[in-house]
Amino acid sequence: MANFYSDNKDLKFHLDHPLMKKIVQLKERDFAENDSCDYAFLDFEDAMDSYDKVLEIVGDICGNIIAPNAESVDNEGPSLVDNEVKYARGTKENHEALTRAGLIGMSLPRKYGGLNFPMVPYVIAAEIVSRADAGFANIWGLQDCAETLYEFGSEEIKNEFLPRFNKGATAAMDLTEPDAGSDLQAVQLKATYDEKKDTWLLNGVKRFITNGDADISLVLARSEEGTMDGRGLSLFVYDRKDKALTVRRIENKLGIKGSPTCELVFKNAPAKLVGNRKFGLIKYVMALMNSARLGVAAQSVGISEAAYREALKYAEERSQFGKPVILFPAVYELLRNMEVKIRAVRSLLYETARFVDIYKNFISISEERKLDPEERNDQKKYQRLSDVFNPLLKLIASEYSNEIAYDALQVHGGAGFMKDFPVERIYRDARITSIYEGTSQLQVVAAIRGVTSGTYLGIIRDSYEKETFRPDLEYLKPNLVKMTDEFEKCVKLVTEAEDSEYLDFHSRRLVEMAGNIIMGYLLLKDAKRDESFLQTAAIFTGIAKSQNSERAEYIVNFNKKDLGIYKYNFEI
């Protein structure tokens, strides 16, 4: 029996991080619930053991149901029948298996039927589901919408919608429109308040909506007539039971074909306002996007893991010139680099998940009682770190998953180009990760703030650099310190010019340099707890150092005046 959790010991390694003690303590409010609820945890050890056991269930379902279904789901895809989205057979089976095992709404509080899981084990689950079938991971991952309703919805909305998740309700987040993609401020779908019916009514079109015909939809709409920007937008929740929505079509996509991407027409669709008017985009969607980005990062790592395993298996089985191809340097280097990248970005994934866990817990606690000054500082600190780690992570994880899927297919040679091996599906599935929930280019726009504000440098210098590492790895640290000096020099050079276009031009290079240094340190830290990270840290630092030198070289030798020769003379 395959198990996608227990067959990958790195997952348990990240689950067992020392910071979990603090996270569990916060999340469980000192285990106050264990008298009233028979599946609440007794103490820290019980909580950790329960996460482990539940993840084993996720791993079981992923290995024995979802992964075996992935090929047929990719072939069959969803269909539109009588204005209803019908999932592929396998998709339906996957969803039912997870619902039956109580794995929808994992992070919701117990009073709404959830398991009260922190981000870390939830993200591990998301990674495993994505490894099994990245397209299905979208349908499962949209339970994030429950989190948004919980954080911002009224008591009435929470009581109405939240308990439905654990019973298997599906969700969608309806943001994009034909003329509002990356620029969500341009959303036009209209929300008007109908006094007679005493409800909000939605009218307009949404496009590229994942799982568009879901039971529960969060809809971004323009509630303030006459406004043109993001401040006129509010967030609404629409219930499928009202049947006021037409699914115009399901898109035919390159990858993640099991996940229905819909064009929707709302016609006088009744909906409830979530939170306050005008906060839709600037507050709620921003929060939603943050967890969605963490979700795409987990999805990317899951896809990478699947691709790497396929490549490794093939390289061991395939012989050419009288020996398995894994024995050729050109092939084993590809494979080893994939493994190293996965381990590096996975460490960044769970580091970010921990940051998110801590600050979100403090926000949630602050609604129950006043935080003391130390707690408030912690909240601010971790929120600041999350804000810059999240886009950095999404950028790197999604780009890596594309690179790793590309290389995994390459290892297969011509066979990889055929439909006979799963790697072609994985390759197609990877492609979306660097596009949706904000393209890589937009992640850089968010992450560059971490460069200019000094937040990345701060955590590198004040925290990571101050740690002592294993004596046999201390030799790697000077490399990372040198890389940090080099990074600092480049940042200074680019920011001193006080030219925003010049900064934009180099921002991806700067963000990626920071990412490499951070991942290098994270692997060194991991090696303290697990020896198998020794060689990973050594390989990664070697690659990262040469990549950063190349970027630094480019920045230092770049003449600001040369920006002009890149530009197009295009009149708006």
Partner: protein, 291 residues
């Protein structure tokens, strides 16, 4: 139907899919210590059918009965992780060496102790003995109707249940009055995965002999949460006659164990031509190997 009471008979078996050299003891009985212990596969199918009845009929309770050594409590926990309500381990040294007759005698007594009930459901057979006798014998001893080889529960009407049976060459739909005994075929749906909440809730459920064997200190916890106690029943608890148990109560005697190795002459070489394949298929269909 509201509030059915279902008893699932389950067995912890050595995983005969992984048989090694030391699988048998010198006396011809199975060396249980050498093989990993698992939930008998068809008993899992039976549990799934019971759980589906519970899904569709609120108020239904599922009690799991197993006979075996103390560690058989493991399968009670596995059942509870999936939605069973409680379970009993029938365990006593005096049961050792019981064949199907003695086992069904003990199980029938334990089932009686749990009366009234609507359905007793079990796997068709266990992968260690492959007899398919225990379920039917329990039904006979209880004087209840039985439906064997069940694949699907089709409907309930008043006190009657309708079941689809999987037979060698087709299916058969039969109805019978409750209470009754049902044995389940492996073509029934596979058992669902563990449920997250039940797993967290019941992971510390232990039988008394398990607690004696380990250093886990769950006594206080069990006092606060009685659902964590997996009851054990001895010969006296079920009021059994010792003579009808164990080796003395078992007419089955293993005369000889033979190690069967397929010899090369039993194999045939075929080409991949369509004619050869068609001939083989015809032969296999005629002798009922397939179809």
């Amino acid at each position: 139907m509201k509030g059915l009471k279902i008893i699932v008979l389950a067995k912890q078996v050595p995983d005969t899919r992984n048989v090694g050299r030391d699988a048998m003891k010198a006396d011809g009985t199975v060396n249980r210590a050498a093989l990993p212990a698992i939930f008998n596969p068809e008993d899992l199918n039976a549990l799934e059918l019971a759980l589906r009845i519970k899904d569709n009929n609120p108020g239904t309770t599922i009690t799991v009965l197993t006979m075996g050594p103390g560690r058989a409590a493991e399968i009670i926990r596995e059942a509870m992780y999936r939605g069973a309500d409680k379970g009993y381990v029938i365990t006593d040294r005096k049961f050792a060496g019981s064949d199907t007759l003695a086992t069904s005698y003990a199980l029938a007594l334990a089932v009686k102790k749990l009366a009234p009930f609507h359905i007793v459901i079990a796997g068709r057979q266990a992968i260690d003995g492959d007899t398919a006798q225990v379920g039917p014998q329990v039904a006979e001893k209880l004087g209840l109707p039985q439906i064997t080889y069940a694949e699907e529960i089709l409907s309930f009407r008043k006190e009657e249940i309708t079941v689809k049976r999987r037979l060698e060459r087709g299916v058969e739909t039969v109805s019978a009055p409750m209470p009754l005994v049902i044995t389940v075929h492996s073509s029934a749906p596979e058992c669902r995965a563990r449920h997250a909440k039940y797993t967290i809730k019941y992971k510390r459920a232990r039988s008394l002999s398990e607690l004696q064997d380990t250093s886990e200190d769950y006594l206080q916890l069990q006092k606060d949460r009685p659902y964590l106690v997996i009851q054990e029943w001895s010969v006296d608890d079920i009021g059994a006659d010792v003579e009808q148990l164990g080796l003395s109560g078992s007419p089955t005697k293993v005369r000889k164990i033979e190690n069967v190795v397929f010899a090369g002459r039993e194999s045939r070489l075929l080409s991949s031509s369509d004619d050869d394949i068609e001939d083989l298929m015809k032969e296999l269909i005629t002798n009922h190997t397939v179809g």
